[in-house]
Amino acid sequence: MSDEEHHFESSDAGASKTYPQQAGNIRKGGYIVIKGRPCKVVEVSTSKTGKHGHAKCHFVAIDIFTSKKLEDIVPSSHNCDVPHVNRVDYQLIDISEDGFYVSLLTDNGSTKDDLKLPTDEALLTQLKSGFEEGKDIVVSVMSAMGEEQMCALKEVSPK
């Protein structure tokens, strides 16, 4: 029953958003889908089942959006879903008045206004103060399986 559910969920996520890959080849630092969430693998260990069984991989991974820790055990010869993770850099042009959204400049010159500010207080103040000082800020936005989030920022000193 639960198997079907899982299947349903993953097809919901969309076939093009993930890519199948053998569990034995997913390395630490790579990505993996666990329980329908895109995660970054922080620990892989292989264990042998029984004396002459096949190896199994034990993954500890962290959801790249919510930072929750997830675990999974997969036989090493089976396939796992690997999310397509994209990162795009945008120039920060404005922080909206209400303090929830930012507007970003895309490569082709249009703007992107639907991205939320980070929730973490420290980062938020850093972003805001940098912006108010008039520094040029480049924001990296990570997207995977239909979600997106700001993942890094960088001050570009005008040369």
Binding site: Q22, V42, H52, S76, V82, A152, K154
Partner: protein, 1136 residues
């Protein structure tokens, strides 16, 4: 407050009492946990006050509060360590006799911890202690009431471990002094102590024998025995050589002759010839044995075996068994008595083991085994065997094998619970065998012993050994090396009787394989599989040595035995090997693979094939020959020729290559198996040139190369394996006839990958394409890196071209994957390895190209990463990011170090005069690019820190002039990090920083002396726009270094390096040095110290005819001066 310098009389009494009350109060406050901070401060002030002896003494003598006495004792100890060097002789003497007196008076008091603290004070002063002891003890020794105390005291003194450098430096006494104390103790007192202890024990023995229950004499006896044991544990050094002229102060005291790999400790007692009479007099040994045999008397009480006296007595007996060195040579026969007396502990094995199983303590048995090990360590096998002949119909070896069989049997029976006596006994016995067999190997008189060994029946041991491995598996998965070691020991035993064991193993193996085939599909094969697995491992150990890093030889035992075999096909070793190869070949069949060859069995097969082929396959006669006199044996010849290139060799090689391809392709996701295949088996194959030659002609090898270049399933291998596979394939090019052919081969091998990489990089849609995981998977950077790390002179051209063609793609990918840290790291590591392999071969124009490439790589990397902040909420991911950054930076530093090496090693054909790139400038430029990325936070990673500082100190030592030309920002950054490095804990890093400083200062000094500017404005200091003067860099470091030397804690090993740095700094800034010195002197309140400091500073720069030139002689003199200076003043300068 607590100042209690001697000289006060009765008028001090109120003050002392108030001190005592304060401390008592503080102690009780601490106990009930009220206001602990204040209480701690009070106690601390006692500990740190100068010369608190009087107050402490008062407390010790008068206080009723035990913890106050404890604190007082601790304070005495601390103060004495601190101030020892400038106490007057009378004070020292007084202090010690007080401590001793106190200890002896209060020996019976209950507060043991006070006692231990005070006695450790006495122990600290052991130098004078032994002298005083010599005089005083005669008076008091015969009061046996004190004997226990005294014995314990000596035990604590003689603990060798207390001679650690840390205590010596804390008391600011040179090591020579400690060495002399040691020497005098060893030569003058130890033996006397020993006899005393013996007398003491003897005198109470009768009482023990007569009494029925636990009398106090037992305690004395036990203490005496422990003392004797401790004395024998002493590292005897001076009585051995006899004529050794000087004392080697800095020898680390390690015995060179004991094998360190042992699991069981076995100390060889070498007290020297003078101990003969004491140790070997038969009454001594006899008495000990008699004492021990008291167990019959106490047997009914049931506690004897494990009661302290019995344990100490046993320990001493075991020690007496291992008497070695000159004492032994005098009368070797004398070792027989103790060893024979040990016999009842272990003989007959079956009866005793049964008794133990029924509840008796196993400690006696284990000590018996230890005694055997001790004896085996000091005797040669023949003598060892003969020991028992006089009283038993069989030799010691037979006893040993019986014992071993028994122990293994018990071990098998209770394999479930670990840590049983049989476990320990098994390890000790295995060590004994190893010792015996190893000493036999070296002696070269192998033949005479072989008879000896064949008489013993080894077969049960080996059989049980192969069975034990089953049991060991569970826990040995965790510690493979331990299992390896154990198997190695079993194999040694098996080799001692190859005549029996090899056919036995062959039979066992074919038996199990037959059983596997019979039960296929019907019976659960797990147990049989496990047996085959263990068998493969043990056969691997028996047939071949590890051969790590050297040419593996066919074991001597296998070469010399089986003399009557003339036909290769009948040679037992050949039979055994062939049957295993035949068995392994079956894994090529898919059906067999699924039913029999589990991944784990495959691991064993691959491991065996790797080990075996490295030793037996296609031997070249003259390099795999063992000892020459054996050459003519026909049996040996057929062993050698059977698997050579003209016979079965090529056929077997083909099978092995096909098996390895199967294990790579058909066991997806089995990481361990693939690693074994790539690292061990294939590596072992390409290590010999003649095998490479044949490999290249094999179709199967070509298939492997093809699969590597084109097959997707090999791309999916684990990263490390992929790299190693690429390395192996490139290395096999070695087997080509000419250098051109080799280059062509490598080019063909890598062409597909380079071109796919170039295609990808030139793709116009790279940005979108690149982020797809399948594309990332298929990036073949790892393969390229593997190939790059296999650079050899022959294939250097091809690999250079490979690198050249991917230069631009690499930069492009670096740009695209800036967020994909895993890919970035791969790219960087590839460049690092490639530059490392290539740089020394490159011509000038090529070097320029490579250097430019590296610089743009650095710039791109830095522009992406500087000022970047990760916004992840997860601390794990943040830490990950930091670790990734650290790894990247470390790779970049390695890249710079490799570039540096161009100046040292250069094989290019250019003459020196050709205009070539100035490497030093390039490296500084590179450093300039990446140092902003190296935050002080990142320098806390030890490896990065080490790499960074070794690069910096290298650069400063070799190219100080380039540093001088840097702009002030870059210059300051470099030196800030040096300053940071000086305050690291790691001795290596501080050393490197000091070397850098030395280089810098001596460069400046020499240049300015020659009339040049040297470091110029950096050194002179400058006034900034606000009018604040910033002092020059050298002045700053002079300050820092003096501060460091005088007031901080550091290892004494650093002093000489620091002297080398300090000397040129002082020469550069003589005025500042004067000023600092005066300041120091002014600060001292005590006029006595003031003059001492002034004198010491004076002596530091003038004594030993120190002059102001920077040559080796002067450095040496200054080192000596600084050492004396520190000994003289550091003690009181550090006291606050």
């Amino acid at each position: 407050m607590f100042n209690g310098i001697a000289g006060g009389g009765a008028e001090d009494l109120p003050q002392l009492q108030s001190t005592m009350r304060a401390i008592e109060l503080a102690c009780s406050y601490i106990q009930i946990n009220t206001n602990p901070a204040a209480a701690e401060a009070t106690i601390l002030s006692l500990h740190q006050s100068p010369q608190p002896y009087k107050a402490c003494r008062f407390i010790l003598e008068n206080s009723q509060v035990a913890s106050a006495r404890f604190q007082a004792a601790a304070a005495i100890k601390e103060a004495a360590i601190r101030e020892w060097s400038f106490l007057s002789t009378e004070d020292k003497g007084g202090l010690i006799s007080f401590c001793l007196g106190y200890v002896i008076q209060h020996a019976n008091s209950s507060d043991a911890y006070v006692f231990s603290k005070v006695s450790s004070v006495a122990a600290f002063h052991r130098y004078s202690f032994s002298r005083i002891l010599g005089n005083d003890l005669f008076r008091i020794f015969f009061f046996w009431r004190y004997m226990y105390t005294i014995c314990m005291l000596i035990v604590s003194v003689s603990q060798v471990s207390e001679f650690s450098p840390s205590t010596s430096s804390a008391m600011s006494l040179p090591r020579e002094f400690h060495e002399n104390c040691r020497k005098s103790l060893e030569q003058n007192y130890l033996k006397t102590f020993y006899s005393w202890a013996q007398d003491a024990a003897l005198s109470v023995t009768n009482k023990i024998v007569e009494s029925n229950s636990d009398v106090p004499e037992v305690k004395v006896c036990n203490a005496a025995l422990r003392l004797m044991h401790q004395i024998l544990n002493w590292e005897f050094r001076y009585s051995k050589g006899g004529t050794k002229g000087s004392i080697n102060v800095f020898s680390d005291g390690m015995r060179s002759d004991t094998a360190s790999s042992r699991k069981t400790e076995c100390v060889i007692v070498q007290p020297g010839a003078s101990w003969c009479d004491v140790l070997l007099s038969s009454s001594h040994v006899g008495w000990l044995i008699n004492l021990y045999s008291l167990r019959q008397k106490f047997a009914f009480e049931g506690y004897w075996l494990d009661c302290p006296v019995a344990v100490s007595a046993r320990k001493l007996i075991v020690q007496l068994c291992s008497l070695a060195g000159e004492t032994m040579h005098r009368s070797r026969a004398a070792s027989a008595p103790p060893s024979v007396r040990v016999l009842p502990w272990i003989d007959p094995p079956d009866v005793i083991s049964k008794e133990i199983e029924e509840g008796r303590s196993g400690s006696e048995m284990i000590d018996g085994c230890r005694a055997l090990l001790s004896i085996a360590t000091v005797t040669i096998p023949v003598v060892f065997d003969r020991l028992l002949r006089s009283i038993r119909p069989f030799g010691t070896l037979t006893l040993l094998s019986l014992l071993m069989g028994e122990v293994v049997k018990v071990l098998l029976a209770n394999s479930n619970d670990k840590e049983t006596w049989s476990y320990e006994a098994r390890d000790i016995l295995l060590d004994t065998w190893t010792t015996l067999l190893a000493s036999m190997d070296g002696s070269g008189v192998l033949f005479s012993f072989s008879n000896l060994f064949t008489n013993c029946n080894f077969t049960p041991i080996v059989a049980s050994a192969s069975a034990t491995t089953d049991e060991d598996d569970a826990d040995c998965l965790a510690s493979v090396s331990a299992m390896d070691e154990r198997l190695g020991s079993y194999a040694l035993i098996a080799r001692a009787a190859v005549d029996a064991t090899v056919p036995f193993l062959t039979k066992l193996f074919s038996d199990r394989v037959a059983r596997l085939h019979q039960g296929r599909g019907t019976v659960d094969p797990t147990d049989t599989l496990e047996e085959v697995y263990s068998l493969l491992l043990i056969i691997g150990h028996v047939l071949a040595d590890e051969g790590e890093g050297e040419t593996a030889l066919v074991p001597d035992a296998l070469q010399t035995h089986f003399v009557d075999v003339v036909e290769a096909g009948n040679h037992p070793v050949v039979l055994l090997s062939s049957s295993i190869v035949k068995f392994a070949e079956q894994c090529l069949d898919a059906n067999m693979r699924s039913s029999i060859f589990s991944p784990r069995l495959m691991e064993a097969v691959i491991w065996f094939l790797a080990r075996w082929s490295f030793t037996y396959l296609m031997l070249v006669e003259d390099c795999n020959l063992g000892s020459n006199q054996l050459q003519s044996l026909p049996s040996r010849a057929c062993l050698f020729t059977f698997f050579n290139e003209h016979n079965q060799g090529k056929f077997v090689l083909d099978i092995i290559v096909r098996i390895s391809l199967t294990s790579l392709m058909s066991y997806p996701g089995e990481k361990d198996l693939q690693e074994l295949t790539c690292h061990q088996l294939l590596h072992a194959l390409v290590r010999r040139r003649n095998i490479c030659f044949h490999l290249l002609s094999l179709d199967s090898w070509r298939n492997l190369a093809n699969a590597f270049a084109n097959d997707k399933s090999l791309f999916l291998l684990n990263g490390v394996s992929q790299r190693s596979l690429a390395q192996t394939l490139v290395l096999s090019a070695y087997g080509m006839q000419s250098s051109d052919a080799s280059n062509q081969y490598v080019k063909d091998l890598m062409a597909h990958m380079t071109s796919s990489l170039v295609d990808l990089a030139n793709n116009s849609d790279l940005k979108n394409l690149a982020q797809q995981p399948d594309i990332i998977m298929l990036l073949c950077i790892r393969e390229l890196r593997g190939a790059a790390s296999a650079t050899e002179p022959r294939t250097q051209r091809a690999i250079y071209e490979m690198g050249l063609s991917v230069m631009n793609p690499v930069l492009r990918l670096l740009e695209v994957y800036k967020h994909e840290s895993a890919v970035i790291y791969l790219l960087l590591k590839f460049v690092v390895d490639w530059v490392d392999g290539q740089i020394s071969y490159l011509e000038a124009h090529e070097t320029a190209g490579v250097v430019n490439f590296c610089m743009s790589l650095l710039q791109i990397y830095s522009s992406h990463n500087i000022g970047k902040i990760s916004l992840s909420l997860s601390s794990t991911l943040l830490n990950e990011a930091k670790t990734e950054k650290y790894k990247d930076l470390r790779a970049l530093l390695q890249l710079l170090s490799h570039l540096c090496s161009k100046d040292m090693v250069d094989f290019s054909s250019d003459s020196i005069e050709t205009q070539s790139t100035n490497i030093s400038q390039v490296v500084f430029f590179g450093l300039h690019i990446i140092t902003p990325l190296i935050t002080l936070e990142l320098l806390k990673y030890p490896k990065l820190c080490f790499d960074y500082f070794s690069l910096i100190s290298h650069m400063l030592e070799v190219y100080p002039e380039t540093l001088a030309q840097l702009n002030s920002d870059a210059f300051n950054h470099v030196l800030t990090t040096v300053d940071f490095g000086l305050h690291q804990q790691d001795v290596d890093i501080v050393t490197m920083c000091l070397r850098a400083l030395k280089a810098l200062a001596s460069y400046h000094y020499k240049e300015t002396k020659a009339g040049n500017t040297g470091l110029g404005s950096h050194a002179a200091g400058q006034t900034d726009p606000n009018g604040v003067f910033h002092e020059g860099i050298l002045s700053r470091f002079l300050r820092t270094l003096l501060q460091f030397l005088l007031f901080e804690d550091y290892s004494t090993d650093l002093v000489s390096t620091a002297a080398d740095a300090l000397f040129p700094l002082i020469l550069c800034e003589p005025n500042l040095y004067q000023g600092l010195g005066n300041e120091l002197i002014e600060k001292q309140g005590n006029p006595n110290f003031k003059t001492r400091l002034a004198n010491a500073l004076q002596v530091l720069t003038t004594s030993n005819q120190l002059s102001s030139s920077l040559d080796r002689l002067n450095y040496q003199r200054f080192r000596k001066n600084l050492n004396n200076f520190l000994i003289e003043v550091r003690g009181f300068l550090k006291t606050k």
